[in-house]
């Protein structure tokens, strides 16, 4: 769900008050950078995408291991993991710019199709909405408004010779923004729990080592 207009207006109104002399156009342009950094560093905007995987059969003895995936909002930037129908992590990488999952192994079960689940990290992308505000998920403005407004003030205040330019305060707000996206990253990786360790599949079944001569491309756990 995209951000509500009331949350967007609140962010912009707060910025207008504290950044006197700033234009709305400059605020929206800087906000795109703020969201880009926030999601890129925190991996907090995630989506679970299910895709059908075809095993080899008599007609296609060489199974297809490349599967394109897509999202309706934002852009896919990172693959966090792929699970088979049994919840077992599968080694895979993500090819960009056209998001394509490349599985290391094709399934060897005798079924027509299997549903694999990919968890991806996303980021903002153009075009923005009709008001030139970046299209972002609802949670970022309801859960991390302080971080977003701090990042916006930091980026705006870095501009010298502007009425709202203030390098010292920009540094202060930048620290607050960094704390904000770091918290978002922690929340995402700990699945919004308190005191729990980040989830990983039992180590006995994890295949992120070189033992047995099997090389695995990339991290496949939810670390």
């Amino acid at each position: 769900m995209t951000a509500f207009k009331k949350d967007i207006d609140r962010i912009l109104n707060q910025a207008r008050v504290e950044l006197a002399g700033a234009s709305d156009a400059a605020l929206k342009a800087s906000l795109f950078e703020v969201f880009t950094d926030f999601f890129d560093w925190s991996d907090s905007w995630r989506e679970t995408i299910t895709f059908a995987v075809l095993p080899p059969n008599a007609d296609t003895q060489l199974a297809n291991t490349q599967y394109g995936i897509a999202t309706s909002e934002g852009q896919i930037i990172r693959l966090l993991g792929v699970l088979d129908p049994n919840g077992v992590p599968q080694p895979a990488i993500l090819l960009l710019p056209s998001p394509t999952i490349l599985l290391q192994n094709a399934p060897n079960v005798a079924q027509d199709t299997l549903k694999y689940t990919a968890v991806v990290s996303k980021n903002v992308v153009l075009p923005a909405d009709a008001d030139a505000f970046p299209i972002v998920p609802e949670f970022v403005l309801t859960r991390y408004p302080t971080a977003i407004i701090a990042g916006l003030k930091a980026k705006m205040m870095m501009q010298p010779k502007m009425p709202y330019g203030n390098l010292k305060m920009a540094q202060v707000h930048w620290v607050s923004f960094n704390n904000g996206w770091a918290q978002a990253k922690t929340d995402a990786y700990h699945s919004n729990t308190v005191g729990a360790q980040s989830w990983r599949f039992p180590s006995g079944y994890r295949m992120n080592s070189q033992r047995g001569g099997i090389s695995v491309p990339g991290d496949i756990g939810f670390s």
Binding site: A20, G21, S23, D24, A25, A26, K28, A29, A132, K161, M162, P163
Partner: protein
């Protein structure tokens, strides 16, 4: 929460021309500053505004500077400048109009108007308007 009616002051070319004539004290025909020259002053002022505040032209004009026809004094075309900067555009227009005159008083008024233009677009406090020396 009460909803305010959006301020439409200085929203169109005609608004700028009308208010500029008040500042120029040129409201009775035949005009000292004809409509075509005032619209030219507006176009030139927008060029200078693009120089000091390019962010004002990023979205509505895609980074380009608009140009308004000088032969249409009733031009109701909207000038898409954010409300807090419109006063600066008006004074920039007035400054350009004063600049063509050769009297010392007009030069001083042109400079003052240009200072207001710069203050509104790049600063906060509008400098006081001084009387003629």
């Amino acid at each position: 929460m009460p909803q305010a009616t959006p301020n439409t002051a200085l929203a169109t070319v005609k608004d700028y021309i009308t208010d500029a004539r008040v500042l120029l004290q040129d409201q009775v025909s035949p005009y000292r500053y004809d409509d075509g020259s005032l619209i030219t002053s507006l176009n030139v002022t927008l060029l200078q505004a693009r120089h000091v505040r390019p962010d004002l032209f990023v979205y509505k004009y895609c980074g380009e500077v608009p140009q308004f026809a000088t032969d249409d004094s009733q031009n109701t075309s909207k000038v898409w400048i954010e409300p807090q900067f419109r006063l600066g555009i008006l004074f920039g227009l007035v400054s350009h109009a004063y600049s063509r005159d050769q009297e010392d008083v007009q030069d001083a008024k042109a400079n003052e108007a240009m200072q207001v233009f710069n203050a509104v677009l790049t600063g906060l406090a509008i400098p006081p308007i001084k009387g003629a020396a």
